[in-house]
């Protein structure tokens, strides 16, 4: 029986991992993701899962061991954050090129330096070009639900891509929230008891070489395979979300629109900020201001068409980036959304706010200020930093 319980984001992810019951977990502790694997390690110690837990000496080895275990046909998971994810970067594109459906719990945290343990999206955003599917969560419930869906998505033979599900560090990872936990049996039925790999190192009757060197004559083809898989994964993500909704009642998509259809002013955001934005929108609507939100749930594959479609009738849009793009032109979401709208016949006027770096507070007042800026968008700079001291 599904039940409502109090779980932090980390507890929710660990609970999903227990129910997923992966064959191998290899992970290294890092704030604020540590709890995910700490809680999971206790599940292993108590014999609640079949998992072989590999307590590696670094995140680089965590991802390396995940690649080995996944190549051997196992269902494999890990969890990390910030510097840990950065330390994995070298192996992330190898995991996707080898088409290994590793699933990662990633807790968004600023990257050094200076060292900072709090939330922003710079770790995950910098990992966006490694062939991983990336799903952001607004709250613990979404993190839990998305993690379960991620297994199905990653292992789908039309996809076969590693997938990371992210929560916002501390804001979600350490916030106790009311979530619905589904029944163990229903999860097993939904994701399938075991992974069904196309090939495995342990298939001794059909030995294979995985990870050979490609030269000028094959590398390009293999990279295009990854690019096509990412593109095609949209379909699978939606199918899995629809099936999840049918079975468990909560509907997800690549994006989520909140009071957007008739909005004059919209913001685009990812992660926990979307929750606060919804409250602000309700308050503004009560005052007669037509405010709306476009939440991006899936950042890779990038839902360019869906975003362009959703924003096509909006007058003024502010894109909120919890990471800088270090390009002198705002954050990564802003750049990609602008590109997505390039062919639009009715593109909105658009500005960018880079906000919340290193856990800098983002509250209702600041979001109300963003909507305020949209009223006189012509006077606004293309990119501004929200909540920073001059």
């Amino acid at each position: 029986m599904a039940k409502f319980v109090a779980k932090t984001g980390n507890e929710a992810m660990a609970e999903a991992m227990r129910q997923i019951n992966p064959d191998v977990v290899a992970a290294y502790p890092i704030t604020p993701a540590t709890e995910v694997v700490m809680i999971f390690a206790k599940y292993v110690a108590d014999g609640l899962v079949n998992t072989e837990y590999v307590p590696v000496e670094s995140e680089h080895s965590a991802m390396s061991a995940c690649v080995g275990a996944s190549a051997a046909g196992g269902r494999v998971m890990t969890g990390t954050s910030s510097q840990g994810l950065v330390y994995m970067y070298e192996i992330l594109p190898i995991a996707s090129a080898l088409r290994l459906p590793i699933v990662m719990c990633e807790v968004n945290r600023a990257i050094s330096g200076p060292i900072n343990i709090h939330c922003d999206h710079s770790d995950t955003m910098a990992a966006r070009d490694f062939g991983w599917i990336q799903i952001f969560s607004e709250n613990s419930q979404e993190a839990y639900d998305s993690l379960i869906q991620a297994v199905r998505i990653a292992e789908n033979h039309d996809v076969l891509l590693p997938t990371m599900v992210t929560t916002d560090g501390f804001i979600i990872s350490h916030c106790l929230d009311k979530i619905e936990v589904l029944d163990d049996k229903d999860i097993t039925a939904f994701i399938g008891k075991d992974r069904k790999p196309n090939n495995s190192l342990l298939d001794l009757d059909k030995p294979t070489t995985l990870g050979s060197i490609d030269l000028q004559d094959y590398y390009f083809e293999h990279r295009v395979q990854v690019a096509e898989a990412i593109k095609n994964s949209k379909k699978t993500i939606i199918e899995v979300a629809n099936e999840f909704a049918k079975k468990f009642g909560r509907q997800y998509g690549l994006i989520e629109e909140y009071k957007l259809a008739d909005a004059d002013y919209a913001i685009v955001a990812l992660g926990s900020t979307c929750g606060t934005a919804k409250v602000v929108i309700d308050e503004l609507r009560a005052k007669g201001i037509k405010a709306g939100l476009l939440k991006i749930r899936v950042y890779r594959p990038f839902p360019a068409e869906e975003i362009a479609q959703a924003l096509s009738k909006i007058k003024n849009v502010a894109v909120l980036d919890r990471a800088d793009g270090w390009a002198g032109q705002g954050g990564p979401a802003y750049a990609e959304i602008k590109a997505a709208l390039y062919k639009s016949k009715t593109p909105p006027k658009m500005i960018n706010f880079v906000y919340g770096l290193g856990g800098r507070e983002i509250d209702k007042d600041q979001l109300a200020h963003v909507y305020d800026c949209l009223k006189n968008i012509e006077q606004q700079p293309d990119v501004q930093y929200l909540g920073v001291r001059e």
Binding site: L98, T208, T209, Y218, H222
Partner: protein, 97 residues
């Protein structure tokens, strides 16, 4: 080999994966500048040549040497060097023709 049309991304297996042992089809015999010659009448089938061959090019059947795989042998000469037969070795090296 090079004349064949190479597969496109749709035709290639998913991921950087290969069935085992396809290098057998790749001939490195043309790398040789020196060529081993086996003298079966002198061979004592000790298999020192076989176990020291970097190119898996000594052919052994039922525990006895039966020849050299010239499609893959690169002519390094380890087999001749390691051959213990005296005074004349069972494998000798000469120029590749």
């Amino acid at each position: 080999m090079s004349q064949q049309k190479k597969p496109g991304w749709k035709e290639l297996a998913i991921g950087d994966i290969l069935p085992a042992g396809t290098a057998e089809k790749f001939e490195t015999g043309d790398w040789r500048s020196e060529r081993p010659t086996w003298h079966p009448e002198r061979c004592i089938h000790c298999l020192f040549c076989w176990v020291n061959c970097p190119d898996t090019s000594i052919i052994v059947e039922n525990g006895k040497m039966t020849g050299i795989d010239m499609k893959h042998c690169k002519g390094c000469g380890i087999c001749a060097k390691e051959c213990p037969v005296k005074p004349d070795k069972a494998i000798t090296m000469g120029p590749e023709r």
